[in-house]
Amino acid sequence: MSSRGDVRTYSGSRAITMLCLFVLYAPLIIVTIYSFNASRSITVWEGLSLQWYADVFWGPESGKFKQAAINSFTIALIAATMSTAIATSAATAIVRGGRFRLRMASLGLISLPLMVPEIVTAVATLIFFNSIGFTRGYLTILAAHIAFCIPFAYLPIQARMQGIEDTFEQAAQDLYATKAQAFRRVLLPMMMPGIIAGFLLAFIVSLDDFIITNFVKGAGVETLPTAIFGSVKQGIKPNIMAISTMLLVVSIAMVTISYIVGKKDNST
């Protein structure tokens, strides 16, 4: 039964909802469907085929994509791990550090990069590497990714930590645990859903980043987004759709894991 205030009673709400869902998902669905197209055309359907997936793995561009995928995944893995570790320390300090003077300032400084236009961060990072004379390549991408992933990892961890009362650590210390033991045995496991969510978010953001990566990557080192962009410049082939679909599957898997972790925690 819908009550008077139910949004479903507003006229046109169903149509607007449908329109929004269509705009959001139609391109993704089309890309996914056409990645299975037997044709070289990206608009004409000629039957079901896995040829473009085969092309990604064994075709003429497969070497380039394979290297890009390795770069992307290793960078995402290392950057997400490092930024999550830093974000966890930061959240512990800011949420549990009492009322220190620069508490609000620290919080602002950590979250600010989320609001700075990415192009500004990209240019700034490039200038930074140039001015210290650091050769651009894999390591510059990694360093930049660690830095810009921190706020993404930080937010879910902080949200989780604010829901944990400090009596749990007090109870642990009351039961003869040192501060370090209380952190490791009690606080850290309780923060874990937030840490996992932060890690997954950082991983996806790193995997997906184009602008900053493109600025700091240097010649010859590609990640999947920059490799795809490079390919597209020479004309869109259906193999790009196949790669995009595979990336989409990875993202959906990550989101699903994050959802399951959150769900499991609520039910126990």
């Binding site: 009362e165 009596t167 749990f168 007090q170 109870a171 642990a172 210390q173 009351d174 039961l175 003869y176 645990a177 040192t178 033991q181 045995r185 009690v186 496991p189 309780m190 874990m192 126990t268």
Partner: protein, 360 residues
């Protein structure tokens, strides 16, 4: 030197937060093996004192001794006292058994020894069938018992309980009172219990410390505090009472004669050094007065209302001079026979020794 036979000795303990003084020089001793209660309204400093004993709050000034050993500078994990927290603070990611084992393992017990002891403790609180569950799968009362088992498992020298029953419903709270008391007797561990519920304090405690506004108001056995409160705060906070303003007329040996504002006089035990002519206060418990049909006695008034509260009936009687007294009559055949309708004139008899003179 503090008495090493006392479980806890608090000496001139002061707690200040900036310019706010939460505790003003508290000195008290908690004896070994007793059920000791810190009782007071919220904000009186009772929880602060408990947290100072546990080690969660620094002591601004003063000392705290545990069996003669000075502990106020030790971190919480080095104090052999354990706490049952108000919200239980059970570790949600551990099973009930792991929760109870935690303190034992942190103290260095082997896993097997800790498991064996945890089994014993869960048996004591009758939760053996639940040992493999997570805290969120237990009811509030069961969680409360797990918190108790977890805190008792390492055999602390003193167990601190911070309003542990306040989250339970009435029936469960009453059952837990006697269970707590019997566990205390069985284990022989000193319990220090914090509560704002005077009934809880009266029914469980060997001794009670009544606190208000950061000060210790009175310390004594339950009956002592109820029958012989030292000031208006204690008389009013513990149980119900009628507080009346009076003037001390005369002191003869140990008997003081006080005159109320309406001219009626009362005799009570003389206390303190109040001189005749001083303003004092009188406390009379409602159950220490009886009603009868008016008979010309000066202690008479008009029934304003009768309030039925189940076990007894509270009758508000309006005396001359704007004084109203509440009288409690037991809900028995004999008691109910003395209840008169509102508007009727009634005589009040104050039992001998029922009036208590208070200076403050």
């Amino acid at each position: 030197m503090p008495d090493t036979r006392n479980a806890i000795d608090v000496r001139n303990a002061v707690k200040r937060y900036g310019s706010f003084t939460a505790l003003q020089s508290i000195t008290l001793s908690i004896r070994d093996n007793e059920f000791f209660t810190l009782l007071g309204p919220s904000g009186c400093g009772k929880t602060t004192l408990l947290r100072m004993i546990a080690g969660f709050e620094d002591v601004t000034e003063g000392e705290i001794f545990l069996f003669g050993e000075e502990i106020e500078n030790l971190p919480p994990h080095q104090r052999p006292v354990n706490t049952v927290f108000q919200n239980y603070a059970l570790f949600p990611h551990m099973t009930i058994e792991e929760n109870v084992m935690f303190g034992l393992e942190m103290r260095g017990s082997s896993r097997d020894a800790a498991r064996k002891k945890a089994c014993e403790m869960l048996e004591l609180v009758q939760l053996t069938p639940f040992s493999a569950r997570k805290p969120s799968q237990l009811s509030g009362g069961q969680q409360q018992r797990v918190a108790l088992a977890r805190a008792l498992a390492p055999q602390p020298k003193v167990l601190l309980l911070d309003e542990p029953l306040s989250a339970l419903d009435l029936k469960l709270r009453q059952a837990m009172r006697s269970e707590l008391k019997s566990i205390q007797r069985e284990t022989g561990i000193t319990f220090t219990f914090v509560t704002h519920d005077q009934e809880e304090a009266l029914t469980m405690s060997d001794r009670i410390a009544v606190m208000s506004a950061g000060r210790l108001q009175q310390l004594g056995e339950a009956r002592d505090i109820y029958e012989r409160p030292v000031n208006r705060f204690v008389a009013d906070f513990i149980g119900e009472t009628n507080l009346l303003d009076a003037r001390l007329e005369a002191v003869d040996a140990s008997v003081a004669t006080c005159r109320l504002g309406n001219g009626l006089t009362l005799e009570c035990d003389a206390i303190g050094n109040a001189r005749p002519g001083a303003d004092v206060h009188i406390s009379i418990r409602p159950e220490r007065m009886t009603l009868a049909a008016a008979n010309g006695d000066p202690w008479r008034g008009t029934v304003k209302e009768n309030i039925f509260v189940g076990t007894d009936v509270q009758t508000v009687v309006q005396l001359q001079g704007g004084i109203a007294l509440t009288v409690r009559t037991q809900n028995s055949a004999a008691g109910v026979a003395t209840i008169l309708d509102p508007g009727t004139e009634v005589a009040i008899t104050v039992e001998a020794g029922a009036a208590r003179m208070l200076e403050d």
